[in-house]
Every structure is written in C-alpha cells, then in structure tokens.
Symmetry: C2
Subunit: 287 residues, 2 copies
C-alpha cells in the first residue's frame, strides 16, 4: 500500500473518531455545540491522530478502539487554534481557508468554544482512563503536552517575543513547547498503550515537531494561496520565527538538517516505514 493510501486510512479513522464523539457535544445552548463543531470539522490534515493511529497499528493494536483519545487530541489542537486566532492573540480572520471561529460566532462565543473543546477533551480523556493503567498514563502525557508546562507555555513565550527580539534559545523554547510537544504526544501515547519504551518516540516526535514548525515559518514567507491562512502574517506581526532570526536560506538549510535527523532517529522505531513518509510529507509540505 502506498504511503498516501495508508495516510488516508488513518485520516478517515480520525474523522470517524471525531464523528463518533460529536453526539456527546452539549445540547444547549445550540450555538455552543455549533461553534465547537464548526472548528472541529474544518478539516486539516489530522496529522496528530494519524500519528497516534499509525504507531498503534504498527504495534498491532486495534487503533479503531481508541476513538476517545484520538478525538481528544484533535479537540485540544482545535481549541488552541480558536484561541490563537482571537484578536487578543494572533488576530487571524482566516483558518484553513475559512473564516476563523470568532469571525463567524463573535469573540465571546469563540472564547467559550475553545474553553468547551478543552474541557470536552478532558472528559474524553477521563473516559479513556477508565480502561486501565496504560490509558491513564497515555492521558497524562496528553495533559502534560497541552498544559501549562507544554503548549500553553509555548504560546505564552510566543506572545512574549512578539515585537521583541527572540534569541536562538527563546526560539527553541517556543518551537518545542508551542508545537513539538503536541506532535510528540500522540507518538508517546501510542507507545505507552503498547507498553513500549516511549523515549525513542518522544525524541523522534520532538524533532518532527520542530521540523513542522520550521516549515510552517518558511511557508509563511514562501507559501501561496493554497496555505489557507493569511500569508506573510508572522512577519507582519513581528512573530518570533526562524526566518526572522536566521533568514530564509539558513532556515531552509536547518529544515533539511532536521529532516535528516528525523530519518536517522527512525531506525529504532516500530512503524518506521510510515513515519518516514510523514517526515517527507512535513519536509516538503506546501500547505
């Protein structure tokens, strides 16, 4: 099977997982579920649950049974995008080629949709945790990656260094926390469910997450309309990016180096073949 066909299988499973938990969205008031659903179903590559399913599958686990954790991963990612797009933060009117949540539902409803998605994710996580120790351990990884010492710390640092000079160390902190932790988490979670050593998956996931953010920064400069978000937004907002710090050529050189390091790290991983395809996808992505 080609990499693309396999990706599509996992992506479809991720959509199914999301579809399955939608029935548990709040009934009242209708605008709350509507605003949560709007962003949750806005598409995207679903790379985080795809990574989760791929590693579970590589270990021979029935990934179709892990809908709660897969949906929780995507709920947390979606909440972060909604809050990130708010006027107080990035003030972005466009997300995945569609109007951002606050453009459609207003700022107050968007704020609450984000809060609701984060809370909903933890309800799903706690439901998964009922299934035993490995599930609880996987849930803890997700909570940590999304949390105050993970993604939110990265967002906070990103904010701190907007319009202020970020050095290499600050930029590395932002990359690792804002992006890499939530890319590594699904891999670590899958390893924990499989009872495998999660260290090698974390190392690979963090490298992949850095590559993901680096190509994102590069695409902000080189990307076309296919990007589905406002191009040149980061530089206009003086966001801390690798392109701003090192220049485009050096950022591209570093991306190539990171991709090579990702591929080296694959040797020790179960599921390496598919993950190699993911590295190529991220390294060459154009949206």
């Amino acid at each position: 099977m080609t990499f693309e066909a396999r990706y599509e299988i996992y992506r479809t499973a991720a959509e199914d997982a999301i579809g399955k938990v939608l029935v548990r969205l709040p009934k009242e008031p209708p605008i709350l579920a509507e605003s949560m659903r709007y962003s949750l179903l806005a598409g995207g590559k679903r790379i985080r649950p795809v990574l989760f399913f791929a590693v579970l599958d590589a270990f021979g686990l029935a990934y179709g049974e892990e809908t709660d954790l897969a949906a929780a991963i995507e709920c947390i990612h979606t909440y972060s995008l909604i809050h990130d797009d708010l006027p107080a933060l990035d003030n972005d009117a466009l997300r995945r080629g569609k109007p951002s949540n606050h453009i459609v539902f207003g700022e107050a409803n968007a704020l609450l949709a984000g809060d609701a998605l984060l809370s909903f994710a933890f309800e799903l996580i706690l439901s998964a945790a009922e299934r035993g120790e490995r599930h609880l351990w996987a849930a803890q990884e997700l909570a940590h990656a999304a949390g105050a010492s993970g993604m939110v710390a990265g967002q906070s640092a990103d904010l701190l260094y907007t319009r202020e000079e970020a050095g290499e160390e600050a930029l590395a902190f932002i990359y690792d926390n804002k992006t890499a932790q939530m890319i590594a988490a699904p891999l670590v979670m899958a390893a924990r469910l499989a009872g495998a050593d999660d260290g090698a998956y974390r190392t690979f996931g963090v490298l992949l997450g850095r590559l993901f953010q680096l190509t994102d920064d590069i695409l902000d400069v080189t990307g076309g309309a296919a990007l589905g978000k406002t191009v040149g937004k980061d530089s206009a907002a003086c966001k801390p990016t690798a392109v701003r710090l090192f220049g485009l050529a050096e950022a591209q050189r570093r991306a190539a180096l990171l991709a090579a390091r990702c591929r080296e790290q694959l040797a020790s991983l179960t599921g390496a073949e598919f993950l190699r395809g993911i590295v190529d996808l991220v390294a060459t992505r154009d949206h």
Copy 2:
C-alpha cells in the same frame, strides 16, 4: 467548635492545598506562572474546596490528603473568573477588590492564564486519578461539571440571554449550569471518594448553588463596596438575572424559599451540621 472556626480550618487547608501545587506551576516564561498565581491567590471564600473537605471530614476521610483534587477545583473556578472578566465577556476591571487579571497582565496573557489554569487542573485531576477507581470517578464528576455540558454551557447561555429576554426556564438553565454544577461537584466528589450514595449530595448541592447565584444577583443590586466587584454591573450589562426577571422583592422571597429547601434536604446527609452553617452563610452573605 463554632461553624466559623471549622470553616477557617477547611479554608486554611484549601489555601495549603493551593500552596502545595504552586511549585508545579510552569517555570517559563515567568509571566505565565505569575499571572496564574495572581488570580489563584487573590483570596475569596474558597467555598468549593471547603465543601469538598467538609464532607470528606464528615465521612472520617483524611481530607488533607486530597490536595490535588481540592486545588484542581479552585484552579477551574479561577480560570472561569479570568475568562469571564475578559472584555469579550463581562468586561469587568475589578475582581475581589483587585484589578482583574487582564487589567494587570493584558488581555492575551489573561486568556492564556485561564487556558493554563484549566489545563493545570486536569493535570492535577489525572494525578489524583492514579489513586484508584473512586478518585477517577470523582475526577469525572469535576470534569463534567466544569465542562461543555456544565459550567461552559451556562456561560454560553448567560451570554446568549444578555440583552435578550430570558424566561424562567432559560434563567434556571443558566443558574444550574453556570453556578450550581460547580457548587454541587465538590460535594458529589467527596461522596464518591467516601463510597457513599452521591445522589442526595447532588440534590443538596444544586439547591445550594441556585441559592448562591440568586444571592449573587440580589447583591449586585443591594451590595455595597464590600462586594469587591463592580456593583450594578449585571443590570447595566442587561445580564439575565432573577432580579431583572422577577424584581427584587420576588427574588428575595425565592431566595428564602430556596434556603428552606436546602435545610430540608440536609436531613439525609452526613455532615449536615456544618452544611447547615454553609446554607446560613450563603443565604445571609453580604459579599
């Protein structure tokens, strides 16, 4: 021991629980922990963890060992206040007599402080869930009460009916979800940890929560500077309140009725003596 002395013991234990988890706040960037700490340590009556500890104590459980869940309750309450005060929602510059989080740290940092506190609460909850089935079950109650079908749904409905006429049914929905679920949750959680039937605690907690919100609405009209927040704010913002719907006199009559129903419900509860004091406190509170 007087009710006041006992309240002070539980309140101090709640402060200790919060103090104990502060060391686990994120180290970087400093402004994130600082903004979380600012609102978390802004004082208040700590009524939610007090209720939790009181019922644990009534069942003879070592409440001092439940710091993670107690602190999580207060982290969730605090995040809801920070987001509620934001310009997009209530736009309140004053909270507990001090400048609101966004006045001190700016809107973007306040948004992230709220996100971080909610995430942090769930890290604490998942840490508590390690201790066994009863703890997981208690954690699930908290997640549900705070979540998309609980407090956030109440906030969303509150927003929906601001500047729009809320009938009695809509107001009941707002009271029960915005406020009562998070007042009932600590009682239900304690009952679950004790292995007791949680139904009677939920019934009492919901009544107490309604009373709490009703006296809050009344205080918005009658309260003085002791309130520590902007008086007359609800009516100025055309918030859906019992006073707006029924008038002050009828709201006060309903509060007295609710207090009586709370006291009736006490008969079936372990820990009734202290909880009776709580009903009196809420019914006669002036801040």
